[in-house]
């Protein structure tokens, strides 16, 4: 996990041209990044992930900061790519968007099948299914990025209080949709929390 790695030294090694360090960074951050992109329901998550990594790789020598900053940098880059993609899609003709969506839903690759989605992807999809895009963004950054509410606030450009409100409403929605049994407020507050 990110916290278990000595990200600062790995980043320094990667900045000095150590391919093994870069590989370690990629293997560590690529899965949550891709899941985040899929959870945000972008049209082509692999494409945006690729753009994000290319941007990270090309600007790696200029990066300054610790592991937390590096993680925030990667996800911030991905978020910008999502925004750019959405902006480009908004100016495209609608017919093209429909065609793209259809082709994305039914790829020509014969090995593709809906069941090929990984368990993690399915879990992410189920988790944020009922949420708005803003709530989805905050929840996924917290769950997959491992950021605190304050860090998410910095990434999103909102106040920490606003993020807490968003995640609270998101949690309520999730509990309503996901929970299969009735849970009272007393039950929740009585629950002993351990991490």
């Amino acid at each position: 996990m990110a916290d278990q790695l000595d990200l600062v030294s790995i980043i320094q090694r990667a900045k000095s041209g150590d391919e093994a360090a870069m590989e370690e960074i990629f293997r560590h951050f690529a899965p949550p990044l891709l899941r985040y992109l899929k959870g945000r329901r972008v049209i082509d998550p692999e494409d945006i992930a690729s753009d994000t990594w290319l941007s990270v790789v090309s600007s790696l020598s200029k990066f300054q900061g610790d592991g937390s900053d590096f993680r925030a940098w990667i996800f911030s880059t991905a978020r910008r790519r999502i925004i750019d993609s959405a902006r480009r899609a908004s100016v495209r003709p609608k017919l093209e968007q429909i065609t793209e969506a259809e082709s994305a839903a039914q790829p020509s690759d014969p090995s593709f099948s809906p069941g090929a989605r990984s368990e993690a992807d399915q879990a992410v999809a189920a988790l944020v299914e009922c949420l708005t895009d803003e709530q989805r963004d905050v929840v996924l950054l917290r769950v997959l990025g491992g950021f605190s509410a304050l860090e998410v606030a910095k990434i999103v450009g909102r106040s920490e209080g606003a993020i807490r409100v968003i995640q609270h409403r998101a949690m309520k929605k999730m509990a309503e949709n996901i929970s299969d049994t009735n849970v009272t407020f007393d039950d929740i507050t009585a629950f002993p929390l351990t991490k």
Partner: protein, 288 residues
Amino acid sequence: MIEEPFSEEIIEALLGGVSNVEALPPGLRRISELVSAANAPAAMTELAMEDTVMSAYRNAWATSDLGEIPERKRSMISKFLSAKVALAGLAIALTGGTAAALTGVLPVSFNKSTNPSVSLAPTSHQDSTNSQVGSDTKTTDGGSVAGDSTSSTALNQGLASGKSLWGLCNAYSHAFASTTTTGASGSLSATGDNPSTATAFVELGALAKSKGDTIAQLCATAVQPSMTSSNRPSGMGNSSGMSGNTSSGGSGQNSQIEFPPTSSRGMSQNAPGKSLMPSKSSRSSSAS
């Protein structure tokens, strides 16, 4: 049904991932399970673009490595070129000046632009009548005459040297001869031009007057500069005749020109603008 509000503690625990899922209330257990599943280890498909990223990393590293050095090199090259350009300019300035000093010939454009008053004869005849005069002036180690003739002081300083005086006297004799010759045909007199009104000749007359001599007497004392093949201008076609004259000892005075030109020396025989020195035929006859 879950009642509001959720405590911040519960929300933080759920989003951060709780370890004891079994201890959660049944309604939140599913959320916790989904959060854990979302953070599952990487599948191979999720690392499919690793090769692409690593290739991009290698390329970026190589490009940034190579990109720095040329920039440094470019800076060094630009500095080196600037120094070279400055040195080349300095060298041209120095050698150009040296060449001009050695040959006594300035570039035509420079002569025209900076020395409009150099012409020893009226300007209207500069092209035809005084072309030879101009060339003769150059033979007089003309830097002092040609370059400094704009002021009388500078001119007198130039004339103080024997070379300049000899050249100017030579030019004066040519101009005088041309005037005489062309005046006979009426071409020069028709225009009213007189070489004696030329600034250089006026200065020459003034110098002669200051010494209590006439121009002829002053020019008779002018010493011919030693002519070498290196500093002999091309316009001096009859310079060999000069040396022949001096060697022949016509006047018995080495390196002196004959002044004033006499008609017996063939002013009418010589073409206008030609040297007053004896021709080859006369030289050969005198030698014999």
